[in-house]
Amino acid sequence: MKDVAFGQYYPADSFVHRLDPRLKLLFLIAFITAIFLATDFYGLAACAGVLLVIVLCSRVPLGKVFRAIRGILFLVLFTAVIQILFNHGDKAYWGGPAVYWEWKIFAVTQEGIVLAIFLVLRLALLVMCSSMLTYTTTPVALTDGIESLLTPLKWLHIPVHVLALVMNMALSLIPVLTGETERIMNAQKARGADFETGNIFRRIKAIVPILIPLLVSSIDRAEELGNAMDSRCYRGDIKRTKYKKLRFGWRDLIAFLLGAALVTGVVLLRVYVGGIL
């Protein structure tokens, strides 16, 4: 449980790792937009090409990027099956009948198959590009980026800094809490607790002996953490500086231009060439 493949930082020293996280966040948004705007395989191929370049530049192993899909494998398959079974389109893309099989509301058509492939590719690209962000950006940089992008909210007196800090601390606490939950579960199992059988009410009741100790230790934890932060001169946002200052450099400029080119390209493709679908 401690090592979920999706959403983990992959330490390496690369061009992509060093990019400004704000840019990466914006780039991700642009990329997702491009993927949604791309209505044909050329558009997707352009996106996939750009993603491939990014992955190669980032030194994250390709296999690791593909593995990110595993997390949503079920969703991908489900979408594909729905498309194949329920599409009644009669467009033919290759020789042979446009409709292979039809029964009541079900049908297998050429269009359905093509659309299914298209959607699967689109979903896979979405997940892979999102996971590239988390692979190449430390949680701290990511929250810093979010904090910086949300700065306008400060004018509305929303404590953006605190939000970012809390996100950071939550991320660093996940492995600790997972370990602790495991320990408490084992301790209660050793005392005969049963979390696996019985109806829903029994099971909810069975969680109490885990939740309460977890709550109690979290309160202790919060107190000690608070003391540790105070002792290290924490006083909110007052006079605080940042070690990892987000700076927009030439690398960021190149990436920005690339990203802009991609989005424009996909839009142009859509407007002038039209889709094959």
Binding site: Y9, P11, V140, D230, R232, C233, R235, R240
Partner: protein
């Protein structure tokens, strides 16, 4: 120069106090009573006491995590008040007990940077301080490591580095070795001794491992919120019977000396293993 001085400091936990160990509240409130002591710059002082003797409260009072009810606390001649607290927190670094409860970030360097960021240092200076602090605890090669994957001793060394990044002149370790295995404990003690000798950082080590107190210049024993003994470690451990009344024991070697004396072997009250062996050898040959 005086590093820190407590003059007639008292403190009472109220019921439901956030910091009140319930066990204390249960004993009808808990008190620190008229605490008087001083630590000189560069000194290494061990504070001993059973659980609930008030030794952790002493740490929390020293940088105003808890505000004393009465009395004065001075740090390098500056009285500790609401106004000076942030200046004084720069001078006093505290490392706490649980290595999992002191990190604010998942990556080592980001966590070490936290304190230096809080006091508004420039970026380059923070970078330099991270390098200095990680080097001082022997963790430079872990700068970009994920904290969750480190051992207990390594995590605690990162916590020390996080405190060192503020360049404190006093370091308080509040039972910082209690949850570590012997290897982790040794790592921390090595670091602490080195910081005291080489960086001339004043160290206050709160512990209930009697063996760790042997490394200190001076030991303070607390019992029920009061300081009851203050002496060189050897002097403290020479007063066996008194220690027992404070629910403390001797270090193992002290127990053996005591046993030999009781059996009529006149070995001196040494805490040094080789010396003791030599004396036994003389007695039997």
């Amino acid at each position: 120069m005086r590093a820190i001085e407590f003059r007639d400091v008292s403190y009472t936990y109220e019921d439901g106090d956030a910091d009140g160990d319930p066990s204390n509240a249960q004993r009808g409130g808990f008190q620190i009573k008229h605490l008087n002591f001083a630590v000189e710059e560069g000194e290494f002082v061990a504070v001993l006491g059973h659980n609930g003797s008030g030794k952790s409260t002493l740490a929390r009072l020293s940088n105003r995590l808890l505000a004393a009810d009465s009395g004065e606390i001075e740090v390098f001649g500056t009285p500790l008040t609401k106004k000076t607290v942030y200046e004084i927190r720069k001078q006093i670094g505290i490392v706490f007990q649980n290595p999992d409860n002191q990190t604010v970030a998942s990556i080592v360097e980001d966590d070490v940077a936290f304190g230096a960021e809080n006091i508004g240092l420039a970026r380059e200076e923070i970078g330099a301080r991270i390098s200095f602090a990680l080097k001082a605890v022997g963790m430079e090669q872990y700068r970009n490591a994920t904290i969750a994957r480190l051992s207990g001793g390594q995590k605690q060394r990162v916590a020390i580095a996080g405190v060192l990044a503020l360049k404190p002149r006093i370091m308080i370790l509040d039972e910082s070795t209690a949850m570590l295995d012997p290897r982790g404990r040794r790592e921390i003690m090595d670091v602490v001794v080195r910081l005291n000798r080489e960086e001339k950082i004043t160290v206050i080590l709160i512990t209930h491992f009697m063996e760790e107190a042997l490394l200190a210049d001076r030991a303070i024993v607390m019992n029920r919120g009061e300081i009851v003994m203050q002496d060189k470690p050897a002097g403290i451990f020479a007063r066996h019977e008194e220690l027992l009344t404070y629910n403390l024991t001797l270090p193992r070697i002290g127990m053996i000396v005591k046993g030999l004396n009781a059996g009529g072997m006149p070995v001196s009250d040494t805490l040094d293993l080789e010396k003791l062996a030599g004396e036994i050898a003389e007695c039997v040959s």
